[in-house]
Subunit: 692 residues, 2 copies
């Protein structure tokens, strides 16, 4: 089979992206790391983050090796085209390991640069907003570019070698396994530290945010790095690769003949175009990012979108000229990607609307704080649920139009389009925690109020950007898993997923329940760990009163240790069920029920993910609104109530909500990868088929 | 067509049931209504409840008339067997009005007796637990028997007249329209008053529960009657009728020839058996209910279950002897009903486990209160979500076994079985608010601590019974709407609901989102109204300090007025969308998408209903656990945190959670009733079919 020359575009763009990441990383390293105290604090954060990642990667290593061995014994998708049982499925197993390593490496690089960037950004703030912004933003961009680059290089090389997208499923599954650990573990870690620090330090002892006397401060900063930078990066790595693979698999299933190689590489080509749009967007943000960081970040996103639409138009124009027979389909796919990208922007806007303090919902949540803790919770909870509606409408319209254009392949390409500018998205997102850390370091390095004000401004821009990127990430993951569900159904030879069949209905039922269970497990994990953290902080303050007076340093390491151990202990069960449950459904009820299970989980997961992210964001900003002096300002009962809201919202928005994406991708990929195995049970009808 | 003689059993049982309700009502009226102050308070409650019901029924009347006229112009299901467009669908329209009136009458009767029973039960408590219990329980039983009796009489007469279950859909839809208003309106009313009374009276002014100085006390008591007695009664009336209709429609669709009349009346016959089991259960509870009200209620439920299993066995044995050719199917249907009933008990147990203060989940929620308001919320929220899992497993197993026995008809019969003992369930449930009121009246009538202790004991038994019946109600509604979805699909000629079709997937997506939106709207309604109530209570205390000293009475009427107006204003929008959205989905995306919409709503509705009911129940009991002197007891920070939890849980468990049942039934019936109309759009494929 001849592979079109266009695929080299993806490879070259990937390599370029990695090179740029290295250039940006060097730029960050060259910046002034600030005074000794700042470097000390930054060093603590770096060593805490390093410890967590090292321990996490060790457990992850075991997990990956076990699964790689398991994959080895699955029926190979390469066995002569038919699904014969030929064991020694080394191709997927190998790619699985490569995918896991690629994701781990880019997570590690992103986080490493992130922790270097924080003190340098804080120091930059002493000169001005522009200087601080540039360091923080370049630091974040490293993560974004590393993710996109390694994904594109990995996928295009694997495709060139094996010429079968089913092998790339292994790569994607590797990336997902890592994402699941990073997202759950990082999410639990960051909120254990944050909630613990808030409950005792801020609420009981009235210490300000980031106060160096609070023993959980460093753990909180570490959490931002491991949860928000490495976790978010691996999450989008995972969605990105999965969207490409789903589109490639559907192409091989749906498009036959000489057109196939052209269309199968099209997702890679369009992602390469998107990467170039992202790179230009990142440069633009750098130029624009003088005094208005918030505006710069958003304008950069919109610019990357517009550039994608324009550049992809040119690309498709060239390809259509090259392959005039396929022009119609090429254009339809182009429009599907554009629709996908636009709907991502719509969902981002929705999240922004529901979480911004100058819009009605969050304003109402803040006002509810005047009536007490319970009312603020009810209000944020309800607006979070309401916010699902416009986001769902956005996705539904995108799905419908993409389907009208090119059927299920159109839906898959909409997901690709949505993720095309993922470089910009990850960069904007990783910027946030760097600024958050920079603010902390500025506080602890005693750089003065003016510098903290600048850092605060940068931080607040990061929060707004984060609301948008989080909506984007959920929407993209949703379309991606939809495409994976379709590709699973095609591969399993399922022509209909009929809800009137009882096994299918049961599959859908279980699917709808799983995101609820998963969310509950993660929130309880945070709650349990935060309880331990609370006890430890109280113990330190009680046993050594000199910590509170600032005469002696708090024992940061103890808190880091609690967060690390707790996160690692707690992530195992949710991770395992996300692999066990789909396999169990497939074995008992058959592959059609498993497809319905995925559909149920996708739909209910969307509701939970959007609801939790947006209610959490709204609680957070309602609190900030009050802290800015509104509705009585700090120290009032309303402020106290808004802190309760924020504490409830923390694990919603930073642990459970964003982990659901990864859960869905992992479950979908598990279904696809284990399909050959599941077909062994009752010919894919499941063990219970005989009785149903 | 010959109607088997067995149907008269249903009619006779129904009439018997109404007669018993009247006997019980008279018994209640004969009891001593207590001292003057008690009668005065009871009079306030009665007049408040009367005002609400009257205003509610006025609006409801308009709604019913408008819909009855709309139904008149739908294509008639009786038009010569084929779905020809013959307008003047007077049969369904007439039955719709009858169903609405029957539900309104039994709601009115139940509530009327309920408000008479409260002061008499309080007076009974001065003699002993047994005397108090008997009055409260008989008062509740009136509602239970009125519901079951009028439903059985209505359905059996309509069937005898028209001999077509599709006409009974009208009756069922009438009952559902009433239930929707009563459940949403009553739910908003009761929590507006309760939350308002708690937030100001208890939290700010430290008044005890039911203190007569609290201006919202009477409104709170009224709320128990309109929300918990009338609302719950109309909810179960609605599920009960719907389960019978769904089974009858599926029978006519699936069973042809001379066997049909036997099987089509079987749901009615089995419900009659269940009614007799319930009556015996109610008598047993009366005998047993000496000193252990909690045990008596639960034992009564189990006894009714066992009696149903035994009596239905005898009944089927007789019928199998009468129709030996159908013995196999008769027995399979028998077992399906038994499985349904048992799974109801399992779900009830689950709710009980997750909400009881002596079990791990609620104990953990109570312990979380030690760490503050936010942690208790996170904990109750998570355990509520976890509780969905065992309940879902129970329903799934019941569905699977029932399906193995007799296909979709088996599932429908499982719903009938689950609801067979609904008389006992409603009786137990209505007992709760009567005791709650009795406690309030004992407090306000100054009957002394010993009497209040007795009333408290009765009240706490009511709460436990309520947890079980609520789980039961959700499970029953779930299986019922499942059966309605199947019957809708059969009637609409849908042979497959394929999730791989984009319109079906979109339908399911919208369905999954709707319960989230509906919950949010109801909770926000409570929050808005409670805010007004809070302001009013504060105003009264501030403008007239003599209220707090007890020298002058509070202005109860103002609070009743706020709750009434607010509830009526807020229920309109959620009620209308529950009819508009399914019709809209059907018009745009076709009937198959509408079936998927129902499936999505059923599954996600189950998750939300169980989660909200159980987390609410757990918050409530965690608070009671602390108030009983545990974990520091009253007045501590932990107690305060547990009150926050309870206040959040209130609209979860008493407004949004239980309303979802009714929402699902209304949406399913809307689909069935409007089906002929929806088939006019693109032949049932929907307006968008051409583009998809």
């Amino acid at each position: 089979m001849e592979i079109p020359i266009y695929i080299y575009l993806a490879l070259i763009a990937g390599i370029l992206s990695i090179l740029m990441a290295i250039v940006f990383a060097k730029k960050v390293m060259k910046a002034d790391p600030g005074n000794e105290r700042m470097q000390e604090v930054s060093g603590y954060i770096e060593s805490g983050a390093g410890t967590f990642i090292k321990t996490q990667y060790k457990i992850l290593g075991i997990f990956v090796i076990v699964l790689a061995i398991a994959l080895l014994f699955l029926p190979s998708p390469l066995a002569g085209g038919s699904r014969m049982i030929v064991f020694m499925n080394w191709e997927q197993s190998l790619c699985y390991i490569i995918g896991a390593i690629a994701s781990m490496l880019s997570g590690w690089l992103g986080m490493k640069v992130g922790v270097k960037a924080n003190t340098r950004a804080a120091q930059g703030c002493t000169i001005g907003t522009k200087e601080g912004f540039n360091v923080a933003f370049f630091g974040g961009a490293v993560m974004g570019l590393a993710v996109v680059g390694s994904a594109l290089i990995g996928v295009s090389i694997i495709y060139m070698v094996f010429q079968n997208p089913l092998v790339i499923l292994g790569f994607s599954f590797g990336a997902s396994s890592v994402a699941l650990f990073m997202k759950c573990g990082g999410g639990i870690y960051t909120k254990t530290a944050d909630v613990g620090a808030d409950l005792v330090g801020k609420a009981e002892y009235k210490l300000p945010e980031d106060d160096p006397r609070n023993p959980a401060t460093i753990a909180d900063n570490v959490g931002d790095n491991v949860g928000d930078i490495a976790g978010m990066g691996s999450d989008l790595f995972d969605s990105y690769v999965a969207s490409i693979v789903a589109a490639m698999i559907l192409t091989t299933a749906l498009i036959a003949g000489p057109a196939m190689p052209i269309f199968v590489t099209l997702p890679l080509v369009l992602c390469a175009v998107g990467l170039i749009a992202s790179l230009l967007g990142i440069y633009f943000i750098k130029w624009f990012g003088s005094e208005e960081p918030g505006k710069a970040l958003n304008t950069g996103t919109y610019l990357a979108t517009v550039l994608y639409v324009g550049l992809a138009f040119i690309m498709i124009y060239i390809m259509a000229a090259d392959y005039p027979g396929y022009a119609g389909r090429l254009w339809r796919i182009y429009w599907a990607t554009v629709i996908g990208l636009l709907s991502g922007i719509v969902i981002g806007f929705t999240s922004d609307y529901y979480t911004r303090e100058d819009r009605k919902p969050t304003r109402k949540v803040a006002e509810a704080a005047l009536e007490g803790d319970a009312v603020v919770i009810l209000s944020g909870f309800s607006y979070g649920l309401m916010s699902v509606v416009p986001a769902a409408v956005g996705i539904i319209i995108a799905m419908a139009i993409a389907y009208m254009l090119e059927g299920v392949l159109g839906v898959a390409m909409a997901a690709v389009g949505m993720l095309a500018i993922v470089g910009t998205i990850v960069a904007n997102d990783a910027y946030g925690p760097i600024c958050d850390n920079a603010r902390g370091i500025a506080e602890q390095g005693e750089l003065g109020d003016e510098v903290i004000r600048v850092a605060d401004k940068m931080d607040s821009a990061g929060n707004t950007a984060k609301a948008i990127t989080k909506g984007f990430a959920i929407g993209a993951a949703n379309l991606t898993v939809m495409a994976l569900m379709f590709s699973f159904a095609h591969e399993a030879g399922i022509s209909v997923i009929d809800l009137l069949s009882i096994n299918v209905l049961i599959g859908a039922f279980i699917g709808v329940v799983v995101p609820a269970l998963f969310s509950a497990l993660l929130i309880l994990a945070v709650q349990r760990n935060a309880g331990k953290m609370v006890n430890e902080i109280r113990r330190q303050f009680e046993e050594n009163p000199k910590i509170l007076t600032g005469e002696e340093p708090a024992d940061f390491n103890k808190c880091i240790d609690i967060a690390t151990r707790g996160a690692l202990r707690e992530l195992v069960f949710p991770s395992i069920i996300s692999i066990i449950i789909p396999i169990g459904v497939g074995i008992l009820f058959g592959v059609a029920a498993l497809a319905a299970f995925l559909a149920g989980a996708i739909l209910s997961g969307f509701v939970f993910a959007i609801f939790m992210s947006n209610s959490g964001g709204s609680f957070d900003n309602a609190k900030k609104f009050i802290e800015d002096g509104n509705l009585g300002g700090k120290g009032t009962d309303a402020h106290k109530a808004s802190i309760t809201g924020d504490t409830v919202g923390d694990p919603f928005k930073d642990t459970a909500g964003p982990s659901i994406n990864t859960l869905l991708v992992v479950m979908s990929l598990t279904a696809s990868i284990f399909m050959g195995f599941l077909l062994l049970f009752g010919g894919g009808l499941g063990l219970l088929a005989a009785w149903m």
